[in-house]
Symmetry: C2
Subunit: 186 residues, 2 copies
DNA sequence: CAACAAGTGGATGAGCTATCCGGATTGAGG
DNA sequence: CCTCAATCCGGATAGCTCATCCACTTGTTG
């Protein structure tokens, strides 16, 4: 396989930049739209990203990867409860900050292979942290591993329902997570 | 204004029935689709319900009205905390049982006038119950009226993320609401 | 049963998505 | 610098869904 041409690489970056802007301003990702805004032909965009989902996935991947490494750091933390609570905080803050994560988090499992992979890793460390906290008697015993993702999604969804203003959202997210954590604490 | 014709009334009912079926099976409401399934012309459907949202609203309204009256009953309950908790339970169960409520609950405020009206009523009694419980020292003081709707939406959303199976959803909803209530309790 | 209002149905255009291929661009080799 | 093939670009266009509009049918009234 010959290396990618320079203009192609440039366009790829450009498309990604435009997509990031669109996602941040809440506009749904439409590839024709992206093409127009990027000043590129529709074909070019479709060549690089066959579906809107693929583009969204590429936009979201860096954030997901960051969460994965941050999760590994959390595992190194001593106090089981703090480690668990801090990690959940990270997950929520990530979703509140980045709309792409919200859309990707609730996506079906058979599309978006890379996302699924990363989500699995994130869930795995979440489960480890949960188990540790539970074994230490810090977390109620009726919380299941499979509840972690829904709860995180639920909180960020609630945040989006609450308001469109980023500051309000941030405060709301903190309130909601606090009450959730208080409810989870044994 | 002359009274509605009998066949028109029949069609109206039929459309509503079909729409209810579609909503229950999770299919997005598309008016052309409704028309085909109902064996009616597209024009007929569009005459009765100018937009999918209008149809959805009509489907959801009875449930919302039920919640309103149930809210008034809740206000009659003696113990402030139980009244509050029970009402939240009703709201969540409603959403878990009826997909229409979920879609309608998060809708923007300037469409769906009837829905907005009912939602306002529901929120008002929720706020009353919250205030009462707070004054009785049963609920933390940092929970705001405006948090009620997002929290309910968040829980039901989490439930939908968790699984597609109604039974699982029901169990999950109960778990989530329990932890939320524990977190809200003073 | 006539005459009119009310209601119906589907042909149709507007608008959006995604494909496909003729032509432009790139850069490796001479 | 020039050539040439591989690579990539762009937008015309086919296919699709949505919503409108109006010629026609049905119900109702006197």
């Amino acid at each position: 396989m010959t290396p990618q041409r320079k203009d192609a690489a440039r366009n790829w970056e450009h498309i990604l930049t435009v997509a990031r802007e669109l996602v941040d301003e809440g506009t749904p990702l439409q590839l024709n739209d992206v093409a127009r805004r990027a000043g590129l032909g529709v074909g070019t965009v479709y060549r690089h990203f066959p579906t809107p989902e693929a583009l969204l996935e590429t936009v979201a991947t860096p954030c997901l990867e960051a969460l994965v490494t941050q999760g590994e750091e959390a595992l190194a933390h001593d106090d089981p409860w703090t480690a668990f609570a801090d990690y959940l905080t990270l997950l929520v803050e990530g979703q509140v900050t980045d709309p792409a994560l919200v859309k990707v988090a609730a996506a079906a499992h058979d599309v978006l292979p890379r996302t699924t992979e990363l989500k699995t890793q994130i869930l795995a460390t979440g489960a480890k942290l949960l188990a540790r906290a539970r074994d230490a008697g810090a977390v109620r015993t009726d919380v299941q591993d499979a509840d972690l993702v829904p709860l995180m999604c639920g909180i960020s969804y609630a945040t989006y329902v609450h308001s469109t203003d980023p500051t309000h959202r941030h405060h709301a997210a903190r309130r909601y997570l606090d009450t959730l954590l208080r409810g989870l604490h044994a």
